[in-house]
């Protein structure tokens, strides 16, 4: 590495695996616990400690939960300046912690907040940051191997950070299993260390005027997903009715979301959510790689499309050539009929 790129560092000074516990109003983002479980595996492999970083206001309970979920220690920065999340105070606090404690690996959820945070903090640390990873491993030297889909999902690129620390990665939500916290947590508080808060409100660059959150669906937990694309042509009723009959959720491609037919929280694919349901019904979806990337982990994929040559048929277990506005209602009727017979 070049001496001009910043102070020369000795990578051997950097130890431990940190997980940034993203939270909002005291509630942890699910991806935080997914990363903690994965971080445990990596730390066991490198023989280092797993450290949870909990930043917020009145969030000691999350630090304790992190310990119950496998962290060896939790660092707690608890102050009103940290609620709600803002990039600059979080970034400044993180910078100070990294400087003092020198973590080797830092994992951050690939959410809007996580990516906003990671992009900010990687710069002052001169850290290597890999975006939106879906696979994490360590090599024989203990280097983080952060892999992410590239070229629209047709290839996996593995990124390393040999000479800079920390090695940072944002990681897709829904890729790793969160596991369950341990039952016995009586000593959890002992493993929580409150750190000095280095940020004051008057030094911040922004003010959150209003924050409205809630009532938004999470499609990543659904067992059945009925997804629509451009073929919906503005009418998603057949999707909604089939999803209802199957006890599933409606999802969509970017195209359908951009048309305004389906809300953004339901978007599946490279710039949307990653889902792994038992059954994924792709209706009126051509099968662009960016979409496939978000649903390739589904157990069974069914394709409905008017174009017999649509690429989606090559990525489906069962395909039927037809208009979703006819096929889906017929399927819905059949599902309901069988349910009535069963009842």
């Amino acid at each position: 590495m070049s001496a001009a790129s910043g102070p020369e560092i000795d990578v051997a000074d950097y130890r431990d695996v940190w997980v940034f516990v993203e939270q909002h109003e005291g509630e942890a983002a699910p991806v935080s616990w997914e990363l903690l479980a994965k971080g445990r595996e990596l730390a066991d492999e490198t023989g280092e400690a797993l450290v949870a970083l909990v930043v917020g206001d009145g969030v000691a309970h999350l630090a304790e939960e992190a310990v119950a979920r496998g962290a060896d220690r939790a660092l707690l920065a608890d102050d009103p300046v940290f609620e709600p999340y803002r990039a600059d105070p979080y970034g400044e606090q993180f910078r100070a912690l990294v400087e003092a404690r020198k973590p080797s690996i830092v994992l951050i959820g690939g959410t809007h907040t996580g990516r906003d945070f990671a992009g900010r903090v990687a710069v002052p640390a001169h850290a290597g940051l890999t975006a939106d990873c879906t696979e994490l491993a360590v090599d024989e030297e203990g280097l983080l191997l952060a892999s992410r889909p590239t070229f629209g999902g047709s290839a996996m690129a593995t990124i390393k950070c040999p000479a800079h620390r920390p090695q940072m990665a944002t990681v897709r939500a829904g890729v790793f299993d969160a596991g369950e916290p341990a039952e016995a947590t009586e000593n959890a508080a002992d493993a929580v260390e409150s750190v000095d808060v280095v940020v004051a409100e008057e030094d911040t660059l922004s003010t959150v005027l209003e924050r409205v959150v809630g009532g938004v669906v999470d499609i990543t937990d659904a067992d059945v997903i009925v997804a629509g694309g451009a073929g919906c042509e503005g009418d998603v009723t057949p999707l909604v009715e089939l999803a209802e009959a199957l006890g599933g959720e409606v999802a969509a491609t970017r195209a359908a979301v951009e048309e305004g037919w389906v809300e953004p929280a339901r978007q599946v694919g490279q710039t949307g959510k990653t889902v792994r349901p038992h059954l994924y019904i792709a209706a009126g979806i051509s099968g662009a790689v960016q979409h496939l990337e978000g649903m390739n982990g589904s157990d069974m994929v069914v394709a409905v499309n008017t174009d017999p040559n649509a690429p989606i048929f090559e990525h489906a277990d069962y395909g039927i050539v037809g208009d979703l506005h006819e096929v889906l209602p017929a399927l819905t009727a059949m599902v309901r009929e069988k349910q009535e017979v069963a009842a």
Binding site: A87, H112, D116, S206, V212, V224, T271, L279
Partner: protein, 259 residues
């Protein structure tokens, strides 16, 4: 602030990857020789920059980093209505990851005395979204990522952005200078006017800056990029049955296996 704001819009030239598909047998990419185009999300950034100029006055300057042909995206921004363009071009920039890339853009924004820097959400070829917060971090400026709309308040010297926070939204007032990343699809980009288009194609010449012009020649490029590509694997294609059925009844029978 009487003369309006110095608005800088960052744009990137990327391969047009709209119609790529995966060959299910080999897992490789099927793409025709994709032409180089303006990164789609950057159209929303350009529109936001122009709308901001409409609201508060000032100038819009497009900047990009890349080899000389990349000035085509500056031309596109100027055709849409930007006042000028700066091309950051130098062999020294080659191999830069997001750290030095955001440094170069940050230095250029400083050089242009920017009040507001507007970027697209992410590039379609690398999709990291790391450059906008990187620019803000290098300069110690405020940042508004995943922004859906902007509400400038020149009297207070702040820019209010409505941010998509996954599950809702928040409105954040940021002190200037500020770096904004617009959500892809946040607005309807205006079409280029004919006269502007002709100007962009015939008369417009971008200003060119090298790494040395920005005093960062020993802080950019591959050597100063923390991340290295350690390997590239073909994503293993997911095994699928690929069975066609010709009736809804037959389809239902297959679904019944998992329901």
């Amino acid at each position: 602030m009487n003369d309006g704001w110095n608005i800088v819009v960052c744009v990137k030239q990327v391969p047009d990857a709209d119609d790529v598909t995966i060959d299910p047998d080999t897992g490789t990419l099927n793409r025709s020789d994709a032409p180089a185009v303006l990164n789609k999300p950057d159209h929303n950034a350009v529109e936001s920059a122009l709308a901001l100029r409409d609201a508060v006055g000032g100038t819009v300057t497009a900047i990009t980093m890349g080899p000389p042909p990349a000035s085509a995206v500056l031309q596109a921004a100027v055709a849409a209505g930007a006042d000028g363009g700066v091309l950051l071009t130098d062999r020294a920039f080659g191999g830069s990851d997001t750290w030095p890339t955001s440094l170069a853009l940050a230095r250029a924004a400083e050089e242009l005395d920017a009040d507001v820097v507007i970027c697209g959400e992410e590039s379609t070829d690398s999709s990291t979204g790391q450059v906008p917060p990187g620019i803000a971090a290098h300069n110690g400026w405020a940042q508004l990522t995943y922004t859906e709309s902007l509400d400038p308040r020149p009297d207070e010297g702040v820019l209010v952005g409505t941010r998509d926070v996954e599950g809702g939204y928040e409105r954040v007032a940021a002190a200037l200078p500020v770096v904004v990343a617009m959500v892809f699809g946040a607005n309807d980009p205006r079409p280029a006017g004919l006269h502007r288009k002709i100007f962009a194609e015939t008369e417009f010449e971008p200003v060119q800056w090298t790494a040395a012009d920005l005093d960062i020649e020993d802080r950019v490029g591959l050597a100063n990029s923390p991340t290295k590509v350690g390997g590239m694997d073909t994503a293993s294609p997911v095994e699928r049955e690929r069975t066609r059925v010709d009736s809804v009844e037959a389809l239902y029978d297959h679904l019944a296996e998992v329901l």
